[in-house]
Symmetry: C2
Subunit: 205 residues, 2 copies
DNA sequence: CAGATTCTTGACTTCGTGTTCTATAACTGG
DNA sequence: CCAGTTATAGAACACGAAGTCAAGAATCTG
Protein backbone atom coordinates (compact mmCIF):
# COMPACT_ATOMS: atom_id res chain seq x y z
CA UNK A 1 0.00 0.00 0.00
CA UNK A 2 2.17 2.80 -1.25
CA UNK A 3 1.58 6.41 -0.41
CA UNK A 4 0.58 8.88 -3.05
CA UNK A 5 1.66 12.30 -4.12
CA UNK A 6 2.80 14.46 -1.23
CA UNK A 7 1.23 17.78 -0.37
CA UNK A 8 2.77 20.87 -1.89
CA UNK A 9 1.87 23.06 1.07
CA UNK A 10 2.30 23.14 4.80
CA UNK A 11 -0.99 22.41 6.57
CA UNK A 12 0.24 24.13 9.71
CA UNK A 13 1.00 27.33 7.92
CA UNK A 14 -2.36 27.13 6.19
CA UNK A 15 -4.14 26.73 9.50
CA UNK A 16 -2.33 29.79 10.76
CA UNK A 17 -3.54 31.74 7.77
CA UNK A 18 -7.07 30.47 8.20
CA UNK A 19 -6.94 31.54 11.82
CA UNK A 20 -5.79 35.02 10.93
CA UNK A 21 -8.36 35.45 8.18
CA UNK A 22 -11.24 34.26 10.34
CA UNK A 23 -9.96 36.39 13.16
CA UNK A 24 -9.71 39.58 11.18
CA UNK A 25 -12.80 39.28 9.00
CA UNK A 26 -15.08 36.90 10.84
CA UNK A 27 -16.68 33.67 9.73
CA UNK A 28 -19.20 34.92 7.20
CA UNK A 29 -17.05 37.56 5.55
CA UNK A 30 -14.38 34.97 4.84
CA UNK A 31 -15.25 32.65 1.97
CA UNK A 32 -13.52 29.37 1.33
CA UNK A 33 -12.16 30.96 -1.81
CA UNK A 34 -10.66 33.78 0.24
CA UNK A 35 -8.99 31.25 2.48
CA UNK A 36 -7.58 29.26 -0.42
CA UNK A 37 -6.30 32.44 -2.08
CA UNK A 38 -4.65 33.62 1.12
CA UNK A 39 -3.00 30.24 1.48
CA UNK A 40 -1.99 30.10 -2.16
CA UNK A 41 -3.64 26.74 -2.76
CA UNK A 42 -6.72 25.45 -4.55
CA UNK A 43 -10.09 25.10 -2.93
CA UNK A 44 -10.09 21.36 -3.38
CA UNK A 45 -6.84 20.99 -1.48
CA UNK A 46 -8.51 22.79 1.37
CA UNK A 47 -11.50 20.47 1.38
CA UNK A 48 -9.14 17.52 1.08
CA UNK A 49 -7.11 18.28 4.15
CA UNK A 50 -9.53 20.01 6.48
CA UNK A 51 -13.08 19.23 5.42
CA UNK A 52 -15.82 21.78 4.97
CA UNK A 53 -15.80 25.38 6.08
CA UNK A 54 -17.15 24.65 9.52
CA UNK A 55 -14.39 22.14 10.15
CA UNK A 56 -11.74 24.56 8.94
CA UNK A 57 -13.08 27.08 11.39
CA UNK A 58 -13.09 24.52 14.15
CA UNK A 59 -9.45 23.70 13.48
CA UNK A 60 -8.62 27.40 13.41
CA UNK A 61 -10.25 27.80 16.81
CA UNK A 62 -8.21 24.93 18.24
CA UNK A 63 -5.05 26.44 16.83
CA UNK A 64 -5.98 29.80 18.27
CA UNK A 65 -6.37 28.24 21.67
CA UNK A 66 -3.04 26.50 21.50
CA UNK A 67 -1.31 29.64 20.27
CA UNK A 68 -2.66 31.62 23.15
CA UNK A 69 -1.71 28.93 25.61
CA UNK A 70 1.79 29.01 24.24
CA UNK A 71 1.88 32.77 24.49
CA UNK A 72 0.92 32.46 28.11
CA UNK A 73 3.81 30.12 28.75
CA UNK A 74 6.13 32.62 27.12
CA UNK A 75 4.77 35.44 29.25
CA UNK A 76 5.18 33.45 32.41
CA UNK A 77 8.75 32.62 31.46
CA UNK A 78 9.62 36.25 30.85
CA UNK A 79 8.02 37.47 34.05
CA UNK A 80 9.76 38.15 37.32
CA UNK A 81 6.86 36.85 39.38
CA UNK A 82 3.49 35.23 38.98
CA UNK A 83 1.69 38.45 39.72
CA UNK A 84 3.85 40.21 37.19
CA UNK A 85 2.79 37.63 34.66
CA UNK A 86 -0.84 38.31 35.44
CA UNK A 87 -0.29 41.99 34.90
CA UNK A 88 1.54 41.41 31.65
CA UNK A 89 -1.19 39.15 30.39
CA UNK A 90 -3.84 41.70 31.17
CA UNK A 91 -1.90 44.41 29.44
CA UNK A 92 -1.97 42.28 26.29
CA UNK A 93 -5.66 43.04 26.06
CA UNK A 94 -5.07 46.74 25.62
CA UNK A 95 -2.48 46.55 22.89
CA UNK A 96 -3.48 47.73 19.44
CA UNK A 97 -3.11 44.14 18.31
CA UNK A 98 -6.27 43.38 20.28
CA UNK A 99 -8.34 45.61 18.00
CA UNK A 100 -9.67 42.54 16.16
CA UNK A 101 -10.88 41.17 19.43
CA UNK A 102 -10.74 37.49 20.24
CA UNK A 103 -11.43 34.91 17.55
CA UNK A 104 -13.50 32.83 19.94
CA UNK A 105 -15.37 35.66 21.57
CA UNK A 106 -16.17 37.19 18.22
CA UNK A 107 -17.61 33.92 16.96
CA UNK A 108 -19.70 33.15 20.02
CA UNK A 109 -22.64 35.42 19.20
CA UNK A 110 -22.51 34.21 15.62
CA UNK A 111 -23.08 30.57 16.51
CA UNK A 112 -24.76 30.65 19.91
CA UNK A 113 -28.31 30.42 18.59
CA UNK A 114 -27.71 28.24 15.56
CA UNK A 115 -25.00 25.66 16.29
CA UNK A 116 -25.09 24.12 19.73
CA UNK A 117 -22.09 21.86 19.22
CA UNK A 118 -19.80 24.54 17.93
CA UNK A 119 -21.04 26.87 20.64
CA UNK A 120 -20.06 24.34 23.27
CA UNK A 121 -16.54 24.23 21.87
CA UNK A 122 -16.35 28.01 21.82
CA UNK A 123 -17.58 28.28 25.40
CA UNK A 124 -15.01 25.78 26.52
CA UNK A 125 -12.26 27.69 24.74
CA UNK A 126 -13.42 30.87 26.40
CA UNK A 127 -12.63 29.38 29.79
CA UNK A 128 -9.00 28.71 29.04
CA UNK A 129 -7.59 32.05 30.14
CA UNK A 130 -9.51 31.79 33.37
CA UNK A 131 -7.76 28.53 34.19
CA UNK A 132 -4.41 30.04 33.35
CA UNK A 133 -5.05 33.04 35.53
CA UNK A 134 -6.19 30.88 38.40
CA UNK A 135 -3.04 28.82 38.29
CA UNK A 136 -0.90 31.94 38.20
CA UNK A 137 -2.79 33.49 41.07
CA UNK A 138 -2.29 30.29 42.98
CA UNK A 139 1.43 30.59 42.37
CA UNK A 140 1.33 34.19 43.50
CA UNK A 141 -0.48 33.26 46.68
CA UNK A 142 1.99 30.53 47.49
CA UNK A 143 4.80 33.01 46.91
CA UNK A 144 3.25 35.42 49.36
CA UNK A 145 2.34 37.98 46.74
CA UNK A 146 -1.30 37.62 47.70
CA UNK A 147 -3.06 37.21 51.00
CA UNK A 148 -3.16 33.53 51.93
CA UNK A 149 -6.93 33.69 52.22
CA UNK A 150 -7.45 35.37 48.87
CA UNK A 151 -10.28 33.88 46.84
CA UNK A 152 -8.30 32.72 43.84
CA UNK A 153 -11.28 31.48 41.89
CA UNK A 154 -13.22 34.69 42.26
CA UNK A 155 -10.19 36.72 41.28
CA UNK A 156 -9.58 34.65 38.19
CA UNK A 157 -13.19 35.10 37.18
CA UNK A 158 -13.07 38.82 37.78
CA UNK A 159 -9.86 39.18 35.81
CA UNK A 160 -11.36 37.21 32.96
CA UNK A 161 -14.36 39.51 32.92
CA UNK A 162 -12.03 42.46 32.91
CA UNK A 163 -10.00 41.01 30.09
CA UNK A 164 -13.05 40.48 27.92
CA UNK A 165 -14.11 44.03 28.58
CA UNK A 166 -10.69 45.42 27.75
CA UNK A 167 -10.64 43.51 24.49
CA UNK A 168 -14.06 44.82 23.58
CA UNK A 169 -12.88 48.30 24.41
CA UNK A 170 -9.88 47.82 22.15
CA UNK A 171 -12.26 46.86 19.33
CA UNK A 172 -14.33 49.94 19.88
CA UNK A 173 -11.31 52.20 19.98
CA UNK A 174 -9.85 50.60 16.90
CA UNK A 175 -6.17 51.27 16.36
CA UNK A 176 -6.31 54.46 18.40
CA UNK A 177 -5.80 52.65 21.65
CA UNK A 178 -6.04 54.82 24.72
CA UNK A 179 -6.75 51.83 26.88
CA UNK A 180 -3.79 51.70 29.26
CA UNK A 181 -5.67 53.82 31.78
CA UNK A 182 -8.20 51.02 31.96
CA UNK A 183 -5.55 48.84 33.52
CA UNK A 184 -6.10 50.83 36.71
CA UNK A 185 -8.90 48.45 37.59
CA UNK A 186 -6.59 45.49 37.29
CA UNK A 187 -4.17 47.03 39.73
CA UNK A 188 -7.05 47.99 41.96
CA UNK A 189 -8.25 44.41 42.03
CA UNK A 190 -4.83 42.95 42.61
CA UNK A 191 -3.85 45.40 45.31
CA UNK A 192 -7.14 44.79 47.04
CA UNK A 193 -6.58 41.06 47.04
CA UNK A 194 -3.10 41.58 48.39
CA UNK A 195 -4.69 42.97 51.51
CA UNK A 196 -7.86 41.02 52.16
CA UNK A 197 -10.12 38.46 50.59
CA UNK A 198 -13.61 39.75 51.25
CA UNK A 199 -14.95 42.98 49.90
CA UNK A 200 -16.86 45.05 52.39
CA UNK A 201 -20.38 46.02 51.31
CA UNK A 202 -19.72 49.49 49.96
CA UNK A 203 -21.29 52.66 51.29
CA UNK A 204 -24.83 52.94 52.44
CA UNK A 205 -26.68 51.06 49.71
CA UNK B 1 -52.07 64.31 -4.61
CA UNK B 2 -54.13 61.66 -2.89
CA UNK B 3 -52.60 59.09 -0.59
CA UNK B 4 -52.49 55.41 -1.47
CA UNK B 5 -53.32 52.24 0.30
CA UNK B 6 -52.42 52.34 3.99
CA UNK B 7 -50.00 49.98 5.65
CA UNK B 8 -51.47 46.90 7.24
CA UNK B 9 -48.74 46.58 9.84
CA UNK B 10 -47.06 48.68 12.49
CA UNK B 11 -43.53 49.66 11.43
CA UNK B 12 -42.52 50.23 15.03
CA UNK B 13 -43.53 46.77 16.08
CA UNK B 14 -41.73 45.37 13.05
CA UNK B 15 -38.58 47.22 13.96
CA UNK B 16 -38.81 45.74 17.43
CA UNK B 17 -39.07 42.28 15.94
CA UNK B 18 -36.15 42.92 13.60
CA UNK B 19 -34.11 44.07 16.56
CA UNK B 20 -34.90 40.97 18.55
CA UNK B 21 -34.21 38.61 15.65
CA UNK B 22 -30.89 40.25 14.81
CA UNK B 23 -30.03 40.31 18.46
CA UNK B 24 -30.72 36.68 19.11
CA UNK B 25 -29.41 35.14 15.90
CA UNK B 26 -26.99 37.68 14.52
CA UNK B 27 -26.86 39.40 11.16
CA UNK B 28 -25.95 36.54 8.88
CA UNK B 29 -28.12 33.88 10.44
CA UNK B 30 -31.16 36.07 10.02
CA UNK B 31 -32.40 36.21 6.44
CA UNK B 32 -34.77 38.82 5.14
CA UNK B 33 -37.31 36.05 4.75
CA UNK B 34 -36.90 35.16 8.42
CA UNK B 35 -37.54 38.76 9.35
CA UNK B 36 -40.62 39.04 7.18
CA UNK B 37 -41.99 35.79 8.56
CA UNK B 38 -41.41 36.87 12.14
CA UNK B 39 -43.17 40.13 11.41
CA UNK B 40 -45.97 38.41 9.56
CA UNK B 41 -45.57 40.54 6.44
CA UNK B 42 -44.24 40.03 2.92
CA UNK B 43 -40.67 40.63 1.92
CA UNK B 44 -41.68 43.41 -0.40
CA UNK B 45 -43.35 45.35 2.39
CA UNK B 46 -40.11 45.18 4.28
CA UNK B 47 -38.09 46.54 1.40
CA UNK B 48 -40.74 49.20 0.86
CA UNK B 49 -40.58 50.61 4.34
CA UNK B 50 -37.01 50.06 5.44
CA UNK B 51 -34.83 49.48 2.41
CA UNK B 52 -32.35 46.65 2.05
CA UNK B 53 -31.09 44.32 4.75
CA UNK B 54 -28.26 46.57 5.79
CA UNK B 55 -30.65 49.46 6.31
CA UNK B 56 -33.02 47.29 8.29
CA UNK B 57 -30.15 46.34 10.52
CA UNK B 58 -29.11 49.95 10.86
CA UNK B 59 -32.60 50.91 11.93
CA UNK B 60 -32.64 48.01 14.37
CA UNK B 61 -29.40 49.27 15.87
CA UNK B 62 -30.81 52.75 16.29
CA UNK B 63 -33.89 51.33 17.94
CA UNK B 64 -31.72 49.22 20.21
CA UNK B 65 -29.85 52.31 21.29
CA UNK B 66 -33.01 54.22 22.01
CA UNK B 67 -34.52 51.31 23.91
CA UNK B 68 -31.45 51.04 26.10
CA UNK B 69 -31.42 54.77 26.69
CA UNK B 70 -35.02 54.58 27.75
CA UNK B 71 -34.26 51.68 30.02
CA UNK B 72 -31.55 53.77 31.63
CA UNK B 73 -34.02 56.54 32.32
CA UNK B 74 -36.34 54.05 33.92
CA UNK B 75 -33.56 52.69 36.10
CA UNK B 76 -32.56 56.14 37.21
CA UNK B 77 -36.15 56.94 38.07
CA UNK B 78 -36.53 53.81 40.18
CA UNK B 79 -33.26 54.30 42.01
CA UNK B 80 -32.79 55.88 45.38
CA UNK B 81 -29.54 57.56 44.41
CA UNK B 82 -27.28 58.03 41.41
CA UNK B 83 -24.83 55.49 42.72
CA UNK B 84 -27.64 53.06 43.27
CA UNK B 85 -28.62 53.55 39.65
CA UNK B 86 -25.08 52.76 38.56
CA UNK B 87 -25.14 49.58 40.57
CA UNK B 88 -28.52 48.58 39.18
CA UNK B 89 -27.38 49.21 35.64
CA UNK B 90 -24.31 47.09 36.12
CA UNK B 91 -26.35 44.28 37.58
CA UNK B 92 -28.39 44.25 34.37
CA UNK B 93 -25.34 42.83 32.65
CA UNK B 94 -25.37 39.68 34.76
CA UNK B 95 -29.02 38.80 34.33
CA UNK B 96 -29.85 35.73 32.24
CA UNK B 97 -31.43 38.10 29.74
CA UNK B 98 -27.91 39.22 28.86
CA UNK B 99 -27.03 35.79 27.52
CA UNK B 100 -27.51 37.01 23.94
CA UNK B 101 -25.00 39.73 24.60
CA UNK B 102 -25.35 43.18 23.14
CA UNK B 103 -26.71 43.66 19.64
CA UNK B 104 -24.10 46.29 18.88
CA UNK B 105 -21.16 44.55 20.48
CA UNK B 106 -22.05 41.31 18.76
CA UNK B 107 -22.14 43.01 15.38
CA UNK B 108 -18.91 44.93 15.76
CA UNK B 109 -16.51 42.11 14.90
CA UNK B 110 -18.80 41.12 12.05
CA UNK B 111 -18.51 44.48 10.28
CA UNK B 112 -15.27 45.98 11.57
CA UNK B 113 -13.11 44.80 8.71
CA UNK B 114 -15.66 45.01 5.89
CA UNK B 115 -17.95 47.99 6.39
CA UNK B 116 -16.30 51.13 7.68
CA UNK B 117 -19.43 53.25 7.71
CA UNK B 118 -21.53 50.78 9.62
CA UNK B 119 -18.62 50.15 11.95
CA UNK B 120 -18.47 53.83 12.75
CA UNK B 121 -22.13 53.80 13.70
CA UNK B 122 -21.62 50.73 15.87
CA UNK B 123 -18.62 52.26 17.62
CA UNK B 124 -20.59 55.39 18.32
CA UNK B 125 -23.45 53.35 19.74
CA UNK B 126 -21.01 51.48 21.93
CA UNK B 127 -20.09 54.70 23.66
CA UNK B 128 -23.62 55.52 24.77
CA UNK B 129 -23.58 53.65 28.08
CA UNK B 130 -20.29 55.30 28.94
CA UNK B 131 -21.88 58.72 28.60
CA UNK B 132 -24.81 57.64 30.74
CA UNK B 133 -22.54 56.29 33.42
CA UNK B 134 -20.46 59.44 33.41
CA UNK B 135 -23.48 61.63 33.91
CA UNK B 136 -24.71 59.44 36.73
CA UNK B 137 -21.32 59.42 38.38
CA UNK B 138 -21.27 63.17 38.09
CA UNK B 139 -24.60 63.28 39.88
CA UNK B 140 -23.26 60.97 42.53
CA UNK B 141 -20.21 63.15 43.05
CA UNK B 142 -22.31 66.28 43.38
CA UNK B 143 -24.47 64.48 45.90
CA UNK B 144 -21.42 63.59 47.94
CA UNK B 145 -21.64 59.89 47.24
CA UNK B 146 -18.20 60.05 45.69
CA UNK B 147 -15.04 61.89 46.58
CA UNK B 148 -15.13 65.37 45.08
CA UNK B 149 -11.84 64.70 43.31
CA UNK B 150 -12.93 61.36 41.85
CA UNK B 151 -11.98 60.93 38.22
CA UNK B 152 -15.45 60.58 36.74
CA UNK B 153 -14.28 59.95 33.19
CA UNK B 154 -11.91 57.19 34.18
CA UNK B 155 -14.54 55.55 36.32
CA UNK B 156 -17.10 55.66 33.54
CA UNK B 157 -14.59 54.06 31.20
CA UNK B 158 -13.70 51.40 33.72
CA UNK B 159 -17.32 50.59 34.40
CA UNK B 160 -17.99 50.33 30.69
CA UNK B 161 -15.14 47.90 30.33
CA UNK B 162 -16.51 45.93 33.23
CA UNK B 163 -19.97 45.93 31.72
CA UNK B 164 -18.74 44.58 28.40
CA UNK B 165 -16.86 41.88 30.23
CA UNK B 166 -19.87 40.92 32.30
CA UNK B 167 -22.03 40.66 29.23
CA UNK B 168 -19.46 38.48 27.52
CA UNK B 169 -19.34 36.32 30.62
CA UNK B 170 -23.12 36.01 30.52
CA UNK B 171 -22.88 34.80 26.95
CA UNK B 172 -20.30 32.21 27.88
CA UNK B 173 -22.31 31.00 30.83
CA UNK B 174 -25.48 30.84 28.78
CA UNK B 175 -28.65 30.65 30.82
CA UNK B 176 -26.83 29.17 33.78
CA UNK B 177 -25.82 32.53 35.10
CA UNK B 178 -23.59 32.45 38.12
CA UNK B 179 -22.37 35.97 37.49
CA UNK B 180 -23.53 37.91 40.52
CA UNK B 181 -20.24 37.24 42.26
CA UNK B 182 -18.59 39.15 39.46
CA UNK B 183 -20.31 42.27 40.65
CA UNK B 184 -17.78 42.32 43.47
CA UNK B 185 -15.45 44.23 41.20
CA UNK B 186 -18.05 46.90 40.62
CA UNK B 187 -18.42 47.45 44.32
CA UNK B 188 -14.69 47.39 44.69
CA UNK B 189 -14.32 50.10 42.10
CA UNK B 190 -17.07 52.24 43.51
CA UNK B 191 -15.99 51.93 47.10
CA UNK B 192 -12.45 52.78 46.09
CA UNK B 193 -13.59 55.91 44.33
CA UNK B 194 -15.62 56.88 47.35
CA UNK B 195 -12.34 57.20 49.21
CA UNK B 196 -9.77 58.57 46.81
CA UNK B 197 -9.21 59.31 43.17
CA UNK B 198 -5.76 57.98 42.43
CA UNK B 199 -4.80 54.36 42.65
CA UNK B 200 -1.51 53.72 44.39
CA UNK B 201 0.97 51.66 42.40
CA UNK B 202 0.30 48.22 43.84
CA UNK B 203 2.82 46.12 45.73
CA UNK B 204 6.43 45.82 44.87
CA UNK B 205 6.24 45.32 41.11
C1' DC C 1 9.16 0.42 -14.59
C1' DA C 2 4.28 -0.19 -13.39
C1' DG C 3 0.60 0.35 -10.68
C1' DA C 4 -1.50 2.27 -6.93
C1' DT C 5 -2.43 6.31 -4.48
C1' DT C 6 -2.93 10.89 -3.48
C1' DC C 7 -2.70 15.69 -4.77
C1' DT C 8 -3.98 19.47 -7.98
C1' DT C 9 -6.64 22.16 -11.24
C1' DG C 10 -10.61 24.00 -12.95
C1' DA C 11 -15.08 23.43 -14.31
C1' DC C 12 -19.59 22.23 -12.73
C1' DT C 13 -23.63 21.78 -9.76
C1' DT C 14 -26.50 23.22 -6.28
C1' DC C 15 -28.59 26.06 -3.21
C1' DG C 16 -29.62 29.81 -0.34
C1' DT C 17 -30.57 34.49 -0.22
C1' DG C 18 -30.83 39.34 -1.37
C1' DT C 19 -33.34 41.97 -4.47
C1' DT C 20 -36.61 43.20 -8.08
C1' DC C 21 -40.71 42.75 -11.08
C1' DT C 22 -45.60 42.33 -12.02
C1' DA C 23 -50.16 42.23 -11.13
C1' DT C 24 -53.72 43.19 -7.84
C1' DA C 25 -55.93 45.51 -3.92
C1' DA C 26 -57.10 49.53 -1.11
C1' DC C 27 -57.45 54.22 -0.36
C1' DT C 28 -58.10 59.51 -1.43
C1' DG C 29 -58.92 63.74 -3.87
C1' DG C 30 -61.38 65.70 -7.68
C1' DC D 1 -66.90 57.20 -10.03
C1' DC D 2 -62.40 57.83 -11.93
C1' DA D 3 -57.55 58.66 -11.77
C1' DG D 4 -53.60 58.63 -9.29
C1' DT D 5 -50.93 56.70 -5.60
C1' DT D 6 -49.25 53.46 -2.43
C1' DA D 7 -49.30 48.79 -0.26
C1' DT D 8 -49.42 43.69 -0.89
C1' DA D 9 -48.52 39.04 -2.51
C1' DG D 10 -46.03 35.95 -4.92
C1' DA D 11 -43.25 34.79 -8.56
C1' DA D 12 -39.00 35.57 -10.79
C1' DC D 13 -34.29 36.99 -11.16
C1' DA D 14 -29.28 37.38 -10.10
C1' DC D 15 -25.47 36.27 -7.89
C1' DG D 16 -22.24 34.54 -4.91
C1' DA D 17 -20.52 30.93 -2.46
C1' DA D 18 -20.33 26.08 -0.63
C1' DG D 19 -19.40 21.83 -2.03
C1' DT D 20 -18.47 18.05 -5.78
C1' DC D 21 -16.68 15.75 -9.94
C1' DA D 22 -13.49 14.26 -13.32
C1' DA D 23 -9.27 14.40 -15.62
C1' DG D 24 -4.47 15.04 -15.32
C1' DA D 25 0.00 15.32 -12.68
C1' DA D 26 3.20 13.89 -9.35
C1' DT D 27 5.06 10.75 -6.14
C1' DC D 28 5.94 6.36 -3.68
C1' DT D 29 6.50 1.29 -3.45
C1' DG D 30 7.03 -3.27 -5.07
Amino acid sequence: MPAGRPREFDPDRCLDIAMQEFWRRGYDSTSVGDLADAMGIGRQSLYNTFGDKREIFLAAVQRYGEAREQECSRILLESTSALDAVRRLMSKAVEPAACSGCLVGNALPRFAAVDADLSAVLRREMQRPQRVLRSWLSLARDAGELDARADIDAMARDLTVLMSGLIMQAMVDGDSTRAEPSLRVVDLLLSDAARTTSVEPPLQA
